[in-house]
Amino acid sequence: MSKALIIDDEHQMRRLLRMVLESRGYEVCEAAEGQLGLQEAAFHRPDVVLLDLGLPGLNGIEVLKRLREWSDVPVLILSVRDQETIKVEALENGADDYVTKPFGTAELLARLTVIQRRRFTRQSAEIVAGALKLDLLHHEASLDDAPLKLTPTEFALLKVLAEHAGRIVTQNQIIKQVWAGQTSDPSEGLRVHINHLRKKLGTTGPRIVNEPGIGYRLEEA
């Protein structure tokens, strides 16, 4: 059974989330405040954390940073709209994904499932995301077993997205991994290569979805 920790200052929200999660077989613990949340995390060792960004006192970002000092537990951010910069900050400080309040239960549970999947480990030289396969050893990609012709940059880009399949990856995270060390502004190049990749993936393969102001998400068809 998975253990979930809810850190949110709204009592009713916690109670509801507890009901939703318990009905899906999660064991739930909760905290109304950041400092308590960190203690709960240390004490209960949850498998996933739901963290509200608008916490009183120790704010969500701060909680996340402290949590990341000793734990790599998957973290889902709960936020309201129009906090793009703070969402990006959370994602770049180790949050795994976010949902925007008000969120649908289905969306919440789907995100939780995705971020709880074992984080990618280099035990195999192959990444599979739906119909998409990436062979890291030979730098080959295939879609529905048909080979995909990709340039090295496109391959690197698709690798980052596929490693995080179903999860949001911020623009900076992509750029850091694909264009590491380059000085010119790669945000333009990123768009160009995304464009090419989309064409090559066609309409049947996984879709690369843009979330304005935040980044990209590879969604399995």
Binding site: L17, V80, E84, T105, E188, R191, P212
Partner: protein, 369 residues
């Protein structure tokens, strides 16, 4: 303040100002009066007294008048002193060597007095001006601090109001998901809750647009992504319509704030779903016109009331026959957002029917090939 203003303290001679002409004539008059007085007193005081009186007058004049009149006084009084007072009188000739020295000294002292004093005054004036500028700058700084403080307060307030309003809506949404939407009453609550969410978001967005707390953050994007972001939140409403997007040519990458533009498009599309009959098409046409991205959003509804094409964008304006619900803010927000991005929006009834909204947005482009 500019250097040009500062140099005004020392008036440049041509053209003569009226005040300066007055000073010249007052200077001459003063020299004449003093010379007459000293002339009368000459038997009792001696001619050196007259020199001191003239010097005093020059010093006093220097504290009030400009350089030109003061120097004029220095020259005239030197000549007058020489001509009328230094023996032999009524000639410019000087007999005694000590008188010659005296005259030269007088001349030099009078000139430098006039010069020094006017310079002193110029410096004083510059200092006063400098002081004034500093005061002005300090005041500006103070005002800017106050402004940013009030902006911060405003933002905090907006954030907390936003949080307070959205939390119950989020709770209702989650609770409804738990309840399931099989029950028709639950579906009604769900519809009302979505409407409430729209209203709250409209009010918050309007406040944000009006407070000018909006800072567009342009980045490279594809028009398709903008459209996707615009339609995602209103898919339920759009389900009853066929949405067609066409482009004049394949559009290059565009540098714009895709989040704000998506919101504008979302508002327009949502409007279209409210006014146009179910099943009708909604068309979006994108083109580059010069350095402007032009987007046309057209529905096949009843079109716009004649003469209201501009009023539409006013806050709380609602057309007389608009369906119930809606805040009358959607278009005001759309225009506010477009203008924040240095673009604009206008509306008209399409010649073949239906409302058409035209967006213009200056953009940088880059080929995506």
């Amino acid at each position: 303040m500019s250097a040009a203003q500062r140099t005004n303290v020392q008036p440049s001679p041509p053209p003569l100002s009226l005040a300066e002409v007055g000073q010249y004539s007052w200077g001459l008059t003063l020299v004449f009066v003093l010379a007459s007085t000293c002339w009368v007193l000459l038997p009792y005081t001696g001619y050196l007294f007259a020199a001191l009186v003239f010097l005093l007058a020059i010093v006093l004049a220097g504290t009030r008048w400009n350089r030109g009149p003061v120097l004029m006084m220095a020259v005239v009084s030197a000549l007058v002193w020489n001509y009328f007072f230094i023996p032999p009188q009524f000639t410019l000739h000087i007999d005694k060597p000590q008188d010659m020295v005296m005259f030269s000294l007088f001349f030099i002292v009078a000139l430098s007095m006039g010069h020094l004093i006017t310079r002193l005054r110029a410096r004083e004036a510059a200092l006063a001006q400098h002081h004034q500028e500093r005061e002005h700058l300090l005041e500006l700084k103070h005002r800017a601090e106050l402004l940013s403080e009030s902006e911060r307060l405003h933002r905090t307030l907006l954030d907390s109001v936003s949080h307070e309003l959205k939390t119950p809506i989020a709770i209702i949404r989650t609770a409804l998901d738990g309840l399931g939407l099989e029950n028709p009453y639950a579906r009604e609550i769900e519809t009302a809750n979505r409407r409430l969410q729209r209203i709250v978001e409209s009010f918050l967005e309007m406040t944000r647009v009006e407070s000018e707390a909006l800072e567009p953050k342009p980045d490279w994007c594809e028009i398709g992504d903008v459209l996707h972001a615009a339609t995602a939140p209103i898919q339920q409403e759009l389900a009853a319509h066929a949405l067609r997007m066409t482009c004049a040519t394949e559009l290059p990458l565009l540098k714009l704030d895709s989040r704000l533009l998506a919101q504008v498009l979302g508002n327009l599309l949502h409007n279209a779903t409210r006014y146009a009959p179910a099943g009708s098409d909604i068309e979006i046409h994108a083109a580059l016109v010069g350095d402007n991205l032009q987007l046309r959003v057209r529905d096949h509804g009843p079109g716009l009331p004649l003469g209201a094409e501009d009023q539409l964008f006013e806050k709380f304006y609602r057309t007389p026959d608009s369906p119930a619900g809606g805040t009358g803010l959607g278009l005001a927000i759309a225009r506010g957002l477009m203008r924040a991005m240095k673009g604009d929006i206008e509306a008209h009834t399409h010649p073949t029917g239906g409302a058409e909204f035209v967006l213009h947005l200056p953009v940088k482009t880059r080929s995506a090939a």
